[in-house]
């Protein structure tokens, strides 16, 4: 018996010792100043990135070589992380999370000043850069996205024109009619949900602002019910439901494969997918590999118009930030500035430039010609939206509820879509009340 007591005590003591979950107080409010003289900045900085592909194929090295022409004494190293969100989240419990990193989605906006060094004032930066709102806390900006994208439907032009649709549909009903024509006249799968991987379904939330054409869409979502009649998510989710319900999507969504879907769209086996302009370059790459014509890949806005014009919302990619614990904040800042302004990263990715006066990428030229209005959303309520999403467990940026909706649409789950969407709205507004928004 004695031995057992000793053992129990030892275990207990060890537990107590480790039981405390203390986190050291972080320094707060440091700034990463832009260096005055590029030739004098020195130091080795580590950049954490989710673009493992660019690290492996040497593209990043080419950027660094360019960068070193201006900043010869700064050495840049990359840490490409496949499970970026999961891994960086854990590393951020320590002080060792690189010098430059992309801000993981899990970090709450109000905590930015505890983790990142400021890049400057909001007023001043917003004159030159897009997306500054997204990382602004108390008038200071903590991150800068190196590229932006516009959500929309990626489609195969040949398939759509073979079905007799050449103009972009302007209402969800027209869009459905287009998909039906594709089903009737071609062998292509009219719409591909990419259900198994899930994240393509959460892209539908990118519709925010496209239907209402309102720069205050985020605020309206926080204060109102996006699933109310005519609300943006109501329109988008109903369209998704109808697509699946009418049998216009792939037959077995549960075993879809993202990588395999790219060449299929390029070859015209799939007609349409809702993603974002960022995916165009990948689709074109897949087209080249599959021996199809990259020019067949088209991009169209959400089928909704306000006063006769389409609206396309610009949205940032991951925001680059400087670790507040970095020993080489100037060098880190130099990298972010150079990467944003001079690297040509956005053009290389056919993406929207982070500079307000930057050129439109080729992909979006048809938008310009069609008079599509580009909207930069006001993201001052972005933090509240995130809290609301998490607290209500609705998860507008996670695929789960749309997976249930798709299951319902194809009869694998009982339920009425209207009741279901009303239920989501109820959960949403109840949480709103409890949070006091």
């Amino acid at each position: 018996m004695n031995r057992r007591i000793v053992l129990a005590l030892a275990v207990g003591a060890a537990l107590l010792a480790s039981g405390c979950t203390g986190s050291g107080g972080a320094t707060k409010g440091a700034d990463a100043e832009a260096p005055d003289d590029p030739a004098k900045v020195s130091g080795t900085i580590t950049v954490l990135t989710h673009r493992t592909d660019l690290v492996q194929d040497g593209t990043m090295k080419k950027y660094v070589a360019e960068f070193n022409k201006t900043y010869p004494k700064v050495k840049v190293e990359f840490d490409g992380i496949t499970d970026y969100e999961g891994e960086v989240k854990i590393r951020m419990n320590t002080e060792n999370y690189g010098d430059v990193l992309m801000i993981p989605a899990v970090i709450e906006k109000k905590d930015y000043p505890k983790f990142f060094a400021s890049l400057g004032g909001r007023e001043e930066r917003s004159k030159k850069y897009r997306f500054t709102d997204y990382t602004a806390v108390d008038g200071k900006v903590y991150g800068q996205s190196p590229l932006g994208a516009v959500p929309g439907f990626i489609y195969n032009k040949k398939v759509w024109s073979r079905a007799g649709v050449t103009d972009w549909p302007t209402t969800p009903a027209e869009f459905l009619a287009g998909l039906k024509a594709i089903k009737a006249k071609t062998d292509a799968v009219p719409y591909y949900t990419n259900f198994k991987d899930g994240w393509p379904l959460s892209q539908w939330t990118g519709v925010k602002g496209s239907v209402s054409c309102d720069e205050q869409a985020t605020t309206r979502w926080v204060e109102g019910n996006p699933w109310a009649e005519g609300g943006e998510l109501r329109v988008a989710d109903s369209l998704l439901y109808d697509i699946v319900h009418e049998g216009l999507s792939e037959k077995d969504p549960t075993t879809t494969n993202w990588e395999a879907s790219k060449p299929k769209l390029a070859k015209g086996e799939i007609a349409t997918m809702w993603l974002g302009s960022w995916a165009v370059i990948q689709m074109r790459g897949a087209a080249k590999q599959a021996g199809a014509d990259p020019d067949d890949i088209g991009f169209m806005p959400f089928p909704a118009q306000k006063d006769g014009t389409f609206c396309a919302v610009t949205s940032p990619d991951y925001q680059q930030a400087v670790n507040i614990h970095s020993d080489h904040k100037e060098a880190a800042r130099a990298w972010i500035d150079w990467f944003t302004d001079k690297s040509g990263y956005a053009e290389d990715n056919l993406a929207l430039s982070p500079l307000k006066d930057g050129p439109l990428p080729d992909v979006l030229k048809p938008y310009e010609e069609a008079g599509v209005k580009f909207l930069d959303l006001d993201d001052s309520k972005g933090a509240e939206l995130k809290t609301l999403e998490n607290q209500s467990e609705v998860g507008i940026n996670t695929p789960d509820y749309r997976k249930e909706l798709v299951d319902m649409a194809r009869g694998a789950r009982k339920g009425d879509p209207d009741d279901y969407l009303d239920g989501l709205g109820e959960k949403w507004t109840e949480t709103q009340k409890s949070l006091g928004y």
Binding site: R3, L7, A10, V11, A14, L15, L16, S18, G19, C20, T21, S23, G24, G25, A26, G86, K89, M92, N93, P104, V106, I107, E108, D111, K114, F195, K196, G198, K251, D252, P253, T254, T255, E389, N390, Q391, E393, G395, T398, P399, D400, K403, E404, D407, R410, A412, R413
Partner: protein, 317 residues
């Protein structure tokens, strides 16, 4: 598996107690020796099993989001929330599929273990075939079976060879998805059960069979009266592992369906709470509740089917 390690270590510690009287120093050394040997496993056990659990218990009383440097003690709020939301426990119905599957699994493993413990041609080859799936990484298994169940995939083409209706979405409806996933889990864990049984059966002295045969017992009699009682402790361990395993299924459904189409299990739900909605506090509480449920089920089971001799000796020690 932690529980088995622990039992093993307790047993070893109780071993060399009855030693002949020796000089003080030598006795001291002899007393300390088992502890020296235990140092490494105990350290590992405490650092990687008990300390994280203690941390988790601490988190379950907070509203921590998993990364913020600030966390607030909220008392039993998380537990209150858990128990006032019945929707969180609905997912346990899914475990029913895996429970049924583990019955199939145990019976099959027992059957194969019994057959292969006698002299059969290609005996070792079949042992390898049965055990092999257990050696494969669970993630790889998930991916492989995703292709297997694809419509027009491997399963459909194999069925096609026999002229059976093909081309169906095996993961398409909740019933067929859960059944398919449970089947994968049987395929994977059969080998482990099989090896445990095989080991137990082979520890039964061969003379017993010879004697039984002389008495005119057939194979079934031998199984019924020699093998089954002989491997009872292992059998009961396997049942416990299967039940707790069924309650905490995770990787196969998580990789293959992500919990969609009615295949969400309690652990997947907990992971989603923690990593999708950043409610680490609530998720820790859910994990603790699952732990308590598993402990309770095990306890009930030990009460209903007590282990014979081996168990009593442990109680006396």
């Amino acid at each position: 598996m932690a529980s088995t390690t622990e039992t093993a270590s307790v047993k070893t510690a109780a071993g060399p107690g009855a030693a002949a009287p020796a000089p003080r120093r030598a006795r001291l050394w002899r007393g300390a020796t088992p502890w020296l040997f235990l140092l490494a496993p105990l350290t590992l056990l405490i650092v990687f099993t008990y300390a994280p659990i203690a941390n988790m218990v601490a988190y379950s009383f907070t509203d921590w989001d998993g990364v913020s440097p600030e966390l607030r003690y909220t008392g039993a709020e998380n537990y209150t929330e858990l128990f006032t939301r019945p929707d969180l426990f609905e997912v346990f119905w899914v475990s029913g599929y895996y429970l049924v599957a583990s019955v199939v699994q145990i019976v099959a493993a027992l059957y194969f273990a019994t057959i292969l413990s006698f002299n059969v041609r290609f005996r070792n080859f079949f042992k390898g075939v049965l055990f092999f799936p257990y050696l494969i990484n669970g993630v790889a298994i998930g991916f492989v079976f995703l292709y297997f169940f694809q419509d027009g995939g491997t399963l459909d083409s194999v069925l096609g060879l026999f002229g059976v209706e093909t081309d169906r979405a095996w993961l398409g409806t909740p019933e067929s998805a859960n059944t398919s996933l449970a089947a994968v889990s049987v395929w994977r864990y059969l080998g482990l059960n099989f090896v445990l049984f095989l080991g137990a059966i082979q520890s039964i002295p061969g003379e017993l069979y010879e004697a039984a045969e002389l008495d005119g017992a057939n194979r079934w009699h031998q199984f019924r009266h020699i093998i089954a009682p002989g491997i009872k402790p292992v059998l009961s361990l396997t049942v416990i592992l299967s039940i707790s395993g069924s309650l905490s299924v995770f990787e196969i459904p998580y990789i293959m369906t992500g919990g969609a189409t009615g295949t969400e299990t309690f652990v997947i739900q907990t992971v989603k709470l923690a990593f999708q909605f950043n409610k680490t506090g609530l998720a820790s509480a859910a994990a603790i509740v699952l732990l308590l449920i598993v402990l309770a089920v095990t306890w009930v089971q030990r009460r209903l089917v007590p282990d014979s001799a081996d168990d009593k000796r442990m109680d006396l020690a």
